[in-house]
């Protein structure tokens, strides 16, 4: 399997919220990178994890599957998962796969942090 062409940086907002900036290609190959970012962001006090997809360049079905497994882990820790920065194309993929029913999509970082839907 090729090395994943992706970076994920974590920014914290207070004790309870973290943003993961995703830049590059989301495929099944980047699972270790995503899970490392999740570990860095998802301390026991974190109850809201926001995924920033503004730097997303490519995603295949393996990438969507990986987001489902991330969702399961977050749910187990009673953490909310949110997303913003999705282009129209990727927003449609979230809707097609009905992932948007579990990961709330926002238009901006501000609304994602505040939990204000569109």
């Amino acid at each position: 399997m090729n090395a994943p062409a992706i970076t994920m940086d974590v920014r914290r907002f207070g004790e309870t919220t973290a943003v993961v900036d995703i830049k590059g290609e989301v495929t099944a190959a980047c699972e270790p990178v995503l899970m490392s970012a999740y570990e860095a962001a998802g301390g026991s006090a974190t109850n809201r994890l926001v995924l920033n997809f503004a730097g997303l360049e490519y995603m295949n079905s393996g990438g969507i599957g990986m987001l489902v497994t991330l969702l399961v882990r977050a749910n187990r820790q009673h953490q909310q998962l949110a997303a913003y920065g999705l282009s129209e194309h990727y927003r449609e993929i979230f809707e097609l796969t009905r992932l948007d029913e579990a990961i709330t999509i926002y238009d901006s970082e501000e609304s994602a942090l505040n939990g204000v839907v569109r």
Binding site: Y58, N60, S61, V68, T69, L96, R98, L99
Partner: protein, 267 residues
């Protein structure tokens, strides 16, 4: 091995980025993403035309269901087979797409669209469930590129989720893989999966991969299976999915078939 073909074009991981081909940020932003042609367009409910050889019920008007919408425990099952050094990943997937129905175990029917396996296509299925009853359902082609394709299930299917068929190259040659990420769609299916359904599914995909390997000329037809329970909890809020259960509906449709045929004949 017969009829192997492949374009030899770059797979999705080998396509040059906009930056590499000298595009500026603004030009790059206006380009469609390079995965755009691989994904199906958004649909709310499935639409299908009748196909020869299958009953074709329990699909039209149904919504797609992912693992989020399912009821049972979530499983990730991976079946792999070494296809050898004579075939590239692209050739393996081209052949798998072209002959997909032929690789299924006997007694099961897959009636795809005329276009084959392309994003947005809907295939109709008749699956043997024993006792002479066929379970009629379908699948939707969610994603397809040169090295993989993914099928997603509709309401009423045994599983809520998707299955990805892929091939990758390595030092030992090409490996073909089928990977299922799913939950049983409703409590009845969950019960069925617990009492023999999982074993039947494992046999189904192992036989399929064996047929693919045989076609591709693999020397060793051993299939390795890896099963992971991703989430052991059941989603009781989705227990109502049982309303769409295609197995129950298929049994009723089978029982009602003589009456339906008689009515049609009378007019």
């Amino acid at each position: 091995m017969t009829e192997l073909s492949g374009t030899g074009t770059a797979g999705p991981d080998k396509v040059a980025s906009a930056e590499q081909i000298g595009l500026g940020a603004r030009e790059a932003a206006s380009l469609p993403p390079r995965d755009a042609a691989s994904w199906a367009k958004k649909v709310d409910r499935l639409q299908v035309d009748p196909r020869a050889g299958v009953r074709g019920t329990n699909v039209a008007g149904r919504r797609l269901t992912g693992p989020v919408q399912g009821f049972g425990k979530m499983w990730q099952k991976t079946y792999r087979l070494a296809a050898g050094t004579e075939v590239s990943p692209e050739q393996a997937i081209t052949a798998w797409k072209a002959h997909f129905p032929e690789f299924w175990p006997k007694g099961n029917r897959f009636a795809g669209a005329l276009t084959g396996i392309s994003p947005g296509d809907v295939a109709l299925l008749d699956l043997a469930i024993g006792g002479g009853v066929k379970l009629s359902t379908g699948v939707f082609v969610l994603y397809a590129d040169e090295e993989s394709f993914t099928l997603m299930t509709p309401q009423g299917h045994m599983f809520a989720g998707w299955i990805t068929f892929s091939a990758e190259g390595g030092p030992g040659g090409t490996v073909v893989q089928a990977q299922v990420l799913m939950r049983a769609n409703d409590p009845l299916y969950e019960l069925g999966m617990t009492f023999g359904g999982h074993r039947k599914e494992d046999v189904f995909w192992a036989e399929t991969l064996t047929a693919v390997g045989r076609y591709l000329g693999a020397g060793d037809l051993t299939v390795t299976t890896r099963i992971v329970c991703v989430d052991s909890s059941r989603q009781w809020r989705h227990a109502g999915n049982v309303w769409h259960n295609s197995m129950v509906r298929s049994v009723l449709q089978t029982l009602a078939a003589p009456v339906t045929a008689l009515r049609r004949r009378r007019g």
